[in-house]
């Protein structure tokens, strides 16, 4: 068989690695990727918690070092 015909066989595997217009799907806003949304909101909450904790640690450190409390 010519090499070109052989290489056509890779199209089944190739679909997993590359996207072409016959295979790929457009992002559908009516079906959100809940994992990604959950991760985004989760990391948002985590960062806010981290920020508030860091702030309270800083305030405590400041007060201890300057003998205010």
């Amino acid at each position: 068989m010519p090499l070109g015909r052989l290489l056509l066989r890779t199209s089944a595997v190739n679909k997993m690695i590359s996207r072409n217009s016959f295979v790929a799907s457009k992002p559908d806003p009516s079906k959100p990727n809940m994992l990604r949304v959950g991760l985004a909101f989760g990391s948002t909450a985590f960062l806010w918690a981290l920020l508030f904790k860091q702030h309270s640690t800083d305030v405590h450190e400041y007060k201890t070092r300057n003998g205010l409390q």
């Binding site: 450190e61 400041y62 070092r65």
Partner: protein, 110 residues
């Protein structure tokens, strides 16, 4: 404090709401809205999770940037005051005149 030395903890920490945080938060929000509009989605109503995440990341970076800025300015002030203290001859006390001594007498012509 990751990039700040231990002595920086003597300084008062910035509030949660501070200038840099607000600015970076707004920049993050603008980035998320731009991302929406470039992907032909409604700018404000789409991808709220993305907007929230970007605002939070900006706010976080702004808080730590404010801490770093406070430390840098505090070290500059300390070095400046130390220099002034060690070189008093370069900073003589200027004698101050009151306005009464400088200003000419007022003769109203009515």
């Amino acid at each position: 404090m990751g990039l700040l030395p231990d002595e920086a903890k003597v300084l008062p920490p910035p509030g949660i709401v501070n200038r840099n945080s607000v600015w970076f938060g707004l920049c993050g929000w603008a980035t998320a809205m731009l991302h929406n509009s470039l992907n032909r989605r409604p700018a404000l109503k789409a991808g709220v999770h993305r907007q929230a995440l970007f605002i939070t990341v900006g706010w976080f970076i702004g808080y730590h940037l404010t801490k770093y800025e406070n430390y840098k300015y505090a070290t500059l002030d300390r070095d400046m005051n130390e220099y002034i203290r060690l070189h008093p001859n370069e900073f003589p006390e200027k004698e101050r005149k009151t306005f009464a001594e400088i200003v000419e007498p007022f003769h109203p012509i009515r």
